[in-house]
């Protein structure tokens, strides 16, 4: 893939009860957003293992989004509180090894916030597009794979 054709690739982990529903609502309401995002449905944001995020970056994702219910509204009572801490620490770690903050984002989007979902994706894609392809983790791969 040449640089010209490069399109940001964003993997989004959405909780079934709120954020996935928000993405559905964005569809029903026809709020368009860039087609760079690929959604993986998980039951709860607390199901998102930081290792999934690392794996996505290792596999070549340019950005990763995790979205869950608003704090206090978790379908599983406090799952998103756990997610918040885990992912906050992961963010600190990724930034420490040189990742640009915009590449890994966490948002709380309720099932009623279709517009917020679309807006979040738009903003994230814009930011990642400016940053260009994710180079962290990637150098050796290019050498190895050729």
């Amino acid at each position: 893939m040449s640089v010209k054709e490069w399109e940001p690739k964003i993997v989004a982990f959405l909780c079934h009860w709120c954020s996935y529903a928000a993405a559905d609502l964005a569809g029903v309401s026809r709020f368009s957003y860039p087609p760079n995002v690929r959604i993986i449905r998980v039951p709860c944001s607390s199901r998102v293992n930081p290792q999934f995020v690392l794996r996505a970056f290792a596999e070549g994702a340019d950005g990763v989004l995790v979205a869950g219910c608003h704090l206090g509204d978790c379908h599983y009572v406090k799952g998103n509180y756990y997610a918040r801490r885990r992912l906050w620490v992961l963010q600190r770690l990724l930034e420490f090894v040189g990742m640009e903050p915009a590449r890994f984002q966490v948002h709380w989007i309720s099932g009623a916030e279709g517009a917020k979902f679309a807006e979040t994706i738009k903003e994230m894609v814009d930011k990642v597009r400016i940053l260009g392809p994710n180079r962290l983790f990637q150098e050796v791969k290019d050498i190895c794979v050729g």
Partner: protein, 652 residues
């Protein structure tokens, strides 16, 4: 290698108008593991479903990917198709081409097409790793525990028992009845509270399927949904109820007089006593804190006079175990302890400043004054009565932030009762807002105003005694004036708080409380009588302030939920639950720490500690899977392997 079939839906033009569905099917057919791929106008229609079922048989498919709309919409539909075609329904994976692609990327067809293909690739990757899942089954103990014998507990117990299910009812006080039996009349219909509640109490006592524990408390609860083991502490009554006939000789002869807490110290009672004449059971208990025999070792009058020989000063607390399948919590409320908070109203030092519930006793024919409205201080009839709303409610400074919901109406009722009994009396009500949301409530409020009760919009700032009058300093904010009234009797509409011990009971049961200490319902709108712990239900004011109609309806709702559960032989629990790979588990139990449902138990085999999931309790959030470092904890249907495969497929 599994055999995957991919079915791409056009959804008419919803998907087909943006994406080239035949091309998607053709491309999907080339993915590893895919043996068949096709597209169709409406997959969810009857012919569409038939198409899938036939393809499963014809191509011996054992994994199915449906690329259509949101799984939130049609996952169940297509799972049934699989089941009908003889496949395990959990071998289905859907991908969302409509909501997540065609509807939102209509303007960028080329990129949308690429994204759609990527989404199908993800679904195929996950499908390849799907395994058949079978819902778990739990046998049910067909008995129900009801905690609390107020109107909520009574109603719930009767409803459950009438459905033919055994009930264990535990009441902390010596008699059933709770707060309702203390009331005089009920708003807005003004029917006699005792008249409608005592028959229900009697019905409970004689119901063959209700096992009644009064003067008892729930001490321990073990087990889970369908199978709870409950330990009940029967407090010592010092009266053998198997011998006692309830003749009343003992309480007539008892030389001790203590202030009667049920009558808010407006009267006294003996140390061996029946809380009120219609008490159920209609047999006395000895109040050990005041009995002379038990405190000082000399008296023994009741024992001497008891014709049945039922008095037993050596009685001890006893523990009883009961097995039940469901629990209904109906522990009700207490009044906000205003005496500790409101110095400006005298901290309870003025005898003629009383609470609404004390007024109920005062106006009650079976109360301490036989229903005459008089001042507790001197027994005179009051000529000016002031009611004060929101004492302890809607007060962040000294009370609680919330509205207690019942005070507007019971105060209106009280005001009416004063006007009815003492037509000459002046009645003033200080309020902030009047909330009359029930059937017939607004009408009642208007009626009370027509009867001459004067409503003043403003809070009371201070009450103090001057001579034999109580000076009430309030305001009329509608006129913008301070108002001072010299009253004979002041009734505080004291707010509602969770019953004492609620916090402790929540811990015993493993349910949560909200910020105000009321038990937390599973969902404020859609699951109002359930808790987050499966098999435990809520009834009445223990969940939040409620009036009698709401309490009774909620009690019946909770009963219906419990009956619905208990009428089943066994229950099916979702198979999308966590499980522990025993080979990997270190026994660190971090999974247990994060589980909101107490669904992780410890098993020790050969000296090695490991976690185990109680499938009937697990709700499938997956938080434990991340807390588990070695990756021993897995979530069926969203396994680590499946999600990693999805990540890989999407990033390709």
């Amino acid at each position: 290698m599994p055999r995957v079939g991919v079915f791409v839906c056009w959804c008419g033009s919803n998907i087909g108008g943006v994406l080239d569905c035949p091309a998607l099917a053709r491309a999907a057919a080339t993915f590893p593991g895919v043996v068949y791929a096709t597209d169709y106008q409406y997959m969810c229609s009857d012919p569409g479903q038939k198409l899938i079922a036939e393809a499963i048989k014809e191509h011996r498919l054992d994994r199915v990917v449906v690329a259509a709309c949101s799984p939130r919409l049609h996952e169940d539909t297509f799972r049934e198709v699989l089941a009908r075609a003889g496949l395990n329904p959990y071998l289905l994976e859907m991908t969302n081409l409509r909501e997540h692609c065609s509807w939102v990327h209509a303007g960028e067809k080329e990129l949308a097409q690429a994204k759609a293909l990527s989404l199908i690739r993800r679904a195929v990757a996950k499908a390849l790793r799907l395994t058949p899942l079978h819902p778990g089954r739990v046998k049910i103990t067909r008995r129900c525990l009801v905690i609390g014998g107020g109107i909520a507990g009574i109603q719930a117990a009767l409803d459950v028992a009438d459905a033919g299910i055994e009930v264990v009812l535990v009441e902390r006080e010596p008699s059933l009845g709770g707060k309702m039996v203390l009331l005089d009349k009920t708003f807005p219909t003004l029917d006699c509270s005792a008249c409608i509640s005592t028959p229900k109490m009697a019905a409970v006592a004689k119901h063959p399927l209700i096992r009644l524990y009064t003067y008892a408390e729930v001490e321990k609860v073990e087990g889970s949904l369908g199978n709870y083991r409950v330990t009940i502490r029967q407090k010592a009554r010092y009266v053998d109820h198997t011998k006692c006939t309830g003749c009343g000789t003992c309480w007539e002869k008892c030389p001790v007089k203590v202030p009667d807490e049920l009558n808010f110290r407006l009267s006294t009672r003996p140390a061996i006593y029946l809380p009120f004449p219609q008490a159920v059971p209609s047999k006395p208990v000895i109040d050990a804190r005041h009995c002379r025999q038990l405190t000082k070792g000399k008296c023994g009058v009741c024992q001497k006079v008891c014709p049945a020989g039922a008095i037993d000063y050596t009685q001890q607390d006893s523990l009883h175990e009961e097995e039940v399948g469901a629990i209904i919590v109906a522990t009700g409320f207490d009044l906000f302890p205003w005496e500790k908070a409101y110095g400006e109203y005298g901290y309870g030092r003025y005898p003629d400043v009383i609470t609404g519930l004390a007024f109920e006793r005062l106006v009650n024919a079976s109360g301490p004054t036989g229903g005459r409205i008089v001042r507790p201080s001197d027994g005179r009839e009051p000529r000016t009565v002031v009611f004060v709303h929101c004492v302890g409610s809607r007060d962040e400074l000294k009370g609680r932030e919330y509205c207690s919901r019942i005070c507007c109406m019971y105060t209106a009722k009280h005001a009416h009762q004063v006007k009815e009994r003492l037509p000459e009396a002046k009645v003033y009500v200080f309020y902030i807002d009047i909330r009359t949301f029930g059937k017939g409530y607004e009408e009642f409020y208007r009626r009370v105003q027509d009867e001459g009760v004067i409503y003043l919009r403003g809070r009371v700032s201070k009450i103090y005694q001057e001579g034999d009058k109580l000076i009430v300093k309030g305001a009329d904010t509608l006129l913008g004036e301070p108002v001072t009234i010299a009253a004979d009797l002041v009734v505080l509409a004291t707010g509602v708080v969770p019953a004492r011990g609620a916090e402790e009971l929540a811990r015993t049961l493993g349910i949560s409380t909200d910020k105000d200490g009321f038990f937390q319902e599973a969902h404020p709108k859609l699951r109002p009588v359930e808790t987050h712990t499966a098999g435990i239900f809520l009834a009445g004011a223990c969940q939040g302030p409620k009036d009698i109609p709401d309490t009774v309806s909620q009690a019946s709702a909770a009963a219906a939920k419990a009956v619905g559960l208990l009428l089943r032989e066994e229950i099916e629990v979702s198979p999308l639950v966590a499980w522990v790979n025993q080979a990997l588990c270190t026994g660190c139990l971090h999974c247990q720490v994060v589980c909101p449902y107490q669904a992780i138990e410890v098993v020790t085999e050969g000296g090695r500690r490991r976690a185990r999931v109680k499938e009937e309790l697990c709700q499938g959030c997956g938080s434990c899977t991340v807390a588990c470092r070695p990756g021993a904890m897995e979530l069926k249907g969203f396994s680590n392997e499946q999600i990693l495969a999805e990540v890989e497929a999407l990033c390709r």
